[in-house]
Amino acid sequence: MSRVKTALRTPWFWAIVGIAVLLLINTIKNPAYLALSVNPTTGLLTGNLLDILRVSAPIIMIALGMTFVIATEGIDLSVGSMMAVGGAVAMQTLSTLDDPTSVGAMLAAIGLALALAIVLGAVNGLLVAVVGLQPFISTLIMMLAARGIARVITDGQNTNATNEPFRQLANGQILGLPTSFVLAIAIVVTIALVMRRTALGLMIESIGINPKASRLAGIRPRPILFGVYILSAALAAVGGLFSVSEVMTVSVSGTGNLMELDAILAVVIGGTSLAGGKFSILGSTIGALLIATLNKTVLFLGIPAAATPAFKALVIIVLVLLQSERVRSFVFGRGKPSGTPTSPSTPAGTESTPVTKEVVA
């Protein structure tokens, strides 16, 4: 009983409900929506679910980096532009190398992209941790600068390249799952272990709660702030690599455009407080999956282009309202100590369905 209650209070619980509802709507439209099959021509497993996992990989990456930045009471507005930088470096490297189809070329492209992202992330860290600028301003500057840098790297062109190993990042599969998704989850698990098995995660949270007190307690905020901005930039570059490997083209103005907003939303839906001081890696990952599901649902339902932002906004507003303690107690009845454990979740499910359906119609 208490476990169900805890689940209801966990913010990402509602994100999972959201994903389930969206998938349900799609299945109602076409009962074969969830079906997986093997494509006879390519020999790969195909299905809408796999598409969702694949397109979620870049969002998971930027949301993961954003999680730690937000936990330090900061924000990183440059992740979308950083994706463009990562993609631009990779495409430019692959299109200029002599032997562009080898694995070595792919590793060189990835290495250079990460190296530049780390430098730019360090600039963010420098502006925030040493110069003491507001993170909002520092990363806003970087958001503009990084897109300019991407433009300079590709000479203003939308550069394309051919490299089969690199293309497999997004288009290949490992055990039937999209390669980029598998890699993204591996990165998430690794970073979660590092954060939670060491004191690093705790230090990030303590800086977010009270930087002065944590300094008095012996935690030096500067290297940690540097670290989170570098990590965020590097992960965003990885997201950019996943994104450009889809089509092997970088669009200097389009790649990662407005993705910083997706990242912030994923983090907030996942239950990380914008006031800093706590973070949920699992929550952010589920939030990223929700945004990917939402993007694909919009396409599947064929919602007119003009109405798309409104539809997405409505779904997210419903979710955020469900997460709010006050709205929940208002909707489900205040102070019902012995409410049956299943009853709160059932009306929630049935209630949010008509809301979203109404929008669809």
């Binding site: 006879p40 809408n48 203003g156 889809e246 396409l299 798309t308």
Partner: protein, 334 residues
């Protein structure tokens, strides 16, 4: 220590100042040289109020203008790009500088349509003809000689005409649109729909924005193909989205060009390469190369001849790998 730091600051300040002055001197010197050259010979001075670096199309377009207005052709072109593609103020300043310098003709590609009346009236008082390139302005058409531009409706209509020929019995088609709300998007829809309207068998499966980008184009089409395996034709409103659509068609195990044909607008080099490789089936060029049309218009205006108020730049279309390869070899990509 503090003293020397301060000295260092002063030295730095003076150094920066000297550098700035030097640069200004250089710029001034360059302009003077241009003027004296102009006075010495019979070159026609043309002031070009331009947009500057904005993207592949704009670069190709402004380069074409620069290539056409050469000294050999009898022109002294003064190129004044905006400080950013959205900065109208620097364009207004450049425009009034050209009027004060009494250039012979002004070419204008406006960053914004509104707010040009006063400047255009000044030019008219000074009897300097103004020719609009690509973008129009919200002003009375008495204030300028002509507007030279490719026409989105006409370009999209060529896609529709080709589609009618390729699918005489009609087809299930899908439209990948650009960023919602832009006039380009509406005009390209209008031209295509008008061309195929009235023909039988055309079944629009849907339309969705892919925000001009390849990865979103791929994402949209892969989902559409799952629901509509009988899709035959995709009209992508720019090259990038078409290239993304081709990737989605391939990933679905279908063959672009055979199972699903894709037509795009713009005619960038990557699209011509994709057409040459058989991934795209048709590319309609939104033609940036109208330097010679601009030269003709300038000469007509100076000679006092009548000039049409709108000159539509005809665009080439490419419908086969061979045509695409020839276009790439001829340097028609951008």
């Amino acid at each position: 220590m503090a003293h020397s730091k301060r000295m260092l600051g002063i030295v730095g300040f003076i150094g920066a100042g000297a550098l700035a002055l030097g640069l200004a001197g250089c710029a001034g010197g360059g302009a003077d040289a241009g003027d004296s050259g102009d006075n010495g010979s019979d070159l026609t001075t043309v002031g070009f109020v331009a947009v500057g670096p904005e993207g592949g199309w704009r670069d190709a377009n402004e380069q074409a203008i620069k290539d056409a207005f050469t000294e050999e052709a009898g022109f002294d072109l003064k190129y004044a790009p905006a400080s950013s593609p959205t900065d109208q103020k620097s364009q207004l300043d450049a425009f009034s500088t050209f009027v004060n310098d009494e250039v012979d003709v002004i070419l204008l590609t406006a960053t914004e349509a509104s707010g040009w009346e006063d400047s255009l009236e000044l030019a008219q008082e000074a009897e300097i003809p103004v020719i609009l390139l690509d973008r129009g302005v919200d002003a009375s058409d008495d204030l300028y000689v002509t507007r030279i531009a490719p026409d989105n409706v006409a370009v999209a209509a060529t896609v529709g005409d080709w589609a009618l020929e390729t699918y005489p019995e009609g087809a299930n088609y899908y439209t990948l649109e650009g960023v919602p709300g832009l006039s380009v998007v509406n005009e390209r829809n209008e031209g295509f729909e008008a061309a195929i309207s009235g023909a039988d068998g055309w079944n629009k499966i849907g339309a969705q924005t892919a925000n001009w980008t390849a990865d979103e184009g791929k994402s949209v089409i892969e989902t559409v193909l799952k629901e509509n395996p009988d899709l035959q034709f995709i009209f992508a409103q720019n090259d990038e989205m078409g290239i993304g659509a081709a990737a989605a068609v391939t990933a679905a195990g279908l063959v672009p060009g055979t199972d699903v044909k894709i037509a795009t607008i713009d005619g960038t080099t990557p699209a011509l390469e994709a057409l040459a490789a058989g991934e795209l089936s048709f590319v309609a060029q939104y033609n940036p190369f109208f330097g010679d049309l601009a030269v003709d218009a300038v000469n007509d205006a100076l000679a006092g001849n009548d000039v049409e108020k709108t000159i539509i730049v005809p665009g080439e279309t490419f419908d086969s790998p061979e045509a695409a390869q020839a276009a790439i070899d001829a340097g028609k990509g951008f």
